[in-house]
C-alpha cells in the first residue's frame, strides 16, 4: 500500500491505440495516455472524436486494431478477465433491460461478476440506496425517468465495487439538481479510492470534478495534462461584471479591454499577463462599483474550442449549463 502511495499504480495505460472500423473509418490514430490510480480523469472531445471507441476498447465492447491497453497492469490481450474484473462502466446510451426489475438488473450484474446471490442482494441494496432508487427496486426499468435510468446504470456499474469506474456522459439529459447530486457522489467514491474516467460534454462538469484531462480530436490526443496546467494555456478570459450604477458609455480602464453589454453590465477581457486586482483598481479609479462577476464562458470550454479548432462548426454540440447566454465569443471579438 505504501509502495502504491509512493509510486501510484497506473489504473489505465494506453499505448498507440488504433481502431479502423470495417467501413474504413479510422476512429483512433495512435492514442496514448495513462491514468494514475485514484485519479479523476476527463476524456474530452467533440462528437465522433474517438472517446466512446476508446472506452469500448477498454471495456472489450470494441475490438482494437492495434495498440496496448492495460488495466491495473492487466493487458486486455493476455489477461482480459482480470482487466474486466477491475472495471465498472456506465455507457453513453441507456442499455438496460427495460422489462426487468431494478433489483434484478443490479443483482444479475453482480452475478455476471461472480458475486453469489446472497452477497449480490446486499450490494444491490447498498448501490440502489446510494442512487436513491431503493424505493423503486420492484419497478421495471421502463417506468423510470431518464435521470433515474442514468442513476440505475451507475448503481449497476458499482455493484462489484470496481477499482476503475468509466462514465461515458453520465449526466447527459439529467436535470441540474440530480447532476449536482451525482457530482457529490462521484467525488465521494473517488475520495474513497475509486479511479474515475469521465467523458462529458458539460465542460463545467469536467473542470469541477477532474484533476487530469486528455482532449481527443479526430482519433488523436491533442492535449493531455493536469487540469490546472491545461487551463493555464488559456491566454485570456472574459468576465461579466455587474455594476451597482448604470453607465452610458464604455469606461476607460487603461490596458483592460472592456465592452458595455448592458447599462449595468461590462464585459472585461483579462489576458495572462494581467490580473483581476489590476482590473478592480482601474474600476475603482473610474468610480465604478462591481456587485458581482462571473466567467462569460467556462474556461475549459474556451480552451476546448481553440484546441479542437471547431468553434464555428460545433458550437451547438457543447452545452454549458452554468452559462446564462448560450452565445460563446472568442475573447478576441471584444470591442
Amino acid at each position: 500500500m505504501a509502495m502504491h502511495n509512493a509510486w501510484p499504480m497506473k489504473a489505465l495505460s494506453i499505448k498507440n491505440l488504433t481502431k479502423v472500423y470495417s467501413n474504413g473509418i479510422k476512429a483512433l490514430r495512435g492514442v496514448n495516455f495513462d491514468v494514475e490510480e485514484g485519479d479523476f480523469f476527463a476524456l474530452l472531445g467533440p462528437n465522433g472524436a474517438g472517446k466512446t471507441t476508446t472506452i469500448g476498447i477498454i471495456t472489450s465492447l470494441v475490438n482494437k486494431t492495434e495498440g496496448e491497453v492495460k488495466v491495473f497492469g492487466h493487458d486486455i490481450d493476455t489477461e482480459l478477465m482480470a482487466a474486466k474484473a477491475c472495471i465498472g462502466v456506465v455507457p453513453q446510451e441507456i442499455n438496460l433491460n427495460m422489462f426487468d426489475k431494478l433489483v434484478n438488473i443490479v443483482v444479475n450484474q453482480a452475478g455476471f461478476y461472480g458475486i453469489p446471490k446472497r452477497k449480490a442482494l446486499i450490494r444491490a441494496e447498498e448501490c440502489l440506496k446510494q442512487m436513491q432508487l431503493w424505493d423503486r427496486r420492484q419497478d421495471i426499468a421502463r417506468n423510470l425517468s431518464g435521470g433515474m435510468k442514468r442513476r440505475l446504470m451507475i448503481a449497476r456499474a458499482l455493484v462489484h465495487s470496481p477499482r476503475l469506474l468509466i462514465l461515458d456522459e453520465p449526466t447527459a439529459g439529467v436535470d441540474i439538481e440530480i447532476r449536482r447530486s451525482m457530482w457529490r457522489f462521484l467525488r465521494e467514491i473517488n475520495r474513497a479510492g475509486t479511479t474515475i474516467i469521465l467523458t462529458t460534454h458539460y465542460l463545467e462538469e469536467a473542470e469541477s470534478l477532474c484533476r487530469h484531462v486528455a482532449i481527443v480530436d479526430e482519433g488523436k490526443i491533442i492535449e493531455y495534462d493536469a487540469m490546472d496546467q491545461i487551463l493555464r494555456k488559456l491566454k485570456e478570459e472574459i468576465f461579466m461584471l455587474n455594476l451597482r450604477e448604470p453607465v452610458d458609455r464604455v469606461p476607460d480602464l487603461g490596458a483592460y479591454q472592456v465592452r458595455l453589454s448592458a447599462p449595468h453590465e461590462l464585459e472585461a477581457q483579462i489576458t495572462r499577463d494581467q490580473s483581476l486586482n489590476g482590473l478592480f483598481a482601474e474600476l475603482s479609479a473610474a468610480g465604478l462599483e462591481v456587485i458581482s462577476m462571473r466567467n462569460k464562458a467556462n474556461r475549459l470550454e474556451e480552451l476546448f474550442f481553440r484546441l479542437t479548432e471547431r468553434k464555428n462548426n460545433h458550437e451547438s454540440e457543447i452545452r454549458s449549463p452554468g452559462i446564462k447566454s448560450p452565445e460563446i465569443k472568442s475573447p478576441g471579438a471584444i470591442a
Partner: protein, 257 residues
Amino acid sequence: MIVRTQIIGFRTIVRKEYSRVIRIWVQTMIPPAITMTLYFVIFGSIIGKRVGQMGGFEYMHYIAPGLIMMSVITNSYGNVVSSFFSAKYNRHLEEMLVAPLPNFYIVLGYVAGGVVRGLLVGGVVTIVAMFFTHLRISSISVTISIVVLTSFVFSLAGLLNAMLAKKFDDIAIIPSFVLAPLTYLGGVFYSISLLPDLAQRASMMNPILYMVNAFRYGMLGISDINIWLAYAIIIVFSVSLFSVCLVLMNRGVGIRH
C-alpha cells in the same frame, strides 16, 4: 476460484433466462399448449380416427411424440433467438460482455435457458397429450437424452441466428422458411415408409427426421431410422454448432465492432 466465479456468472444467465420464461408465461407456455391441443383435436381425434393405425399404434398415439418434439424444437430455438437478439438489439447484452465472464459460459448460459424452456414446454405438451391418449415410455434414457440433446441443438441454432441477425426480420426468416418446413416434413405426422422412394431419400437429408424418430423410439419403441445414427447426427450437430457459436462470440461477430 476463477472457475467458481465464472460458474456463478453462468448460473446467473440461466436464472435470468428462466425468470424471463416464467415472467412472460402467457407468451411462452400458453400458445404451444393451445396449438398442440388443436393438433391433437384435428389431426389426432377428427382425422386420426379415419387414418387408423400407424406403426402399430393408433394415429393419435403415433403423433404424440412428434408433436412433443416439435414444440421442444420450436421453443428452444425461439427462446434463444428472441432473448439473445433483443439483448443485443437493446444493448443490455453489454452487461455480460463487459463482465469477466468467458464467452464459453455466455453461450452455455443462453443455450441452457433455451433447453429449460424447451423442456418446460415439452412437459406442458406432454400433459396436454395425456388428455387425448395413453402415453407410455419404452426407454426413459433414450427419451430424456434425445429430448435434451435436441433442445440443445436447436438452442444453439437459435443463438447462431440471433448472433448473425441484424434486424427483427432476420430472426423470423429461419423459423418460418427453414425450421417449420423441416419440422413438418420430419416425420411428425407420418412414417416415411409411406413415402415414395425418392421422397424417402430426400427425407433422410432432414436432421429433424432423426430427432423425431429417436424420440418416438424412446416413447413407443418404433423408429424409421437407426437410433445410433440419430445419436451420432445430434452429437455432431451439437459439437459443430457449439464450436461455431463460440468462435463467432470470440470474434465478436454481430456483437462487437
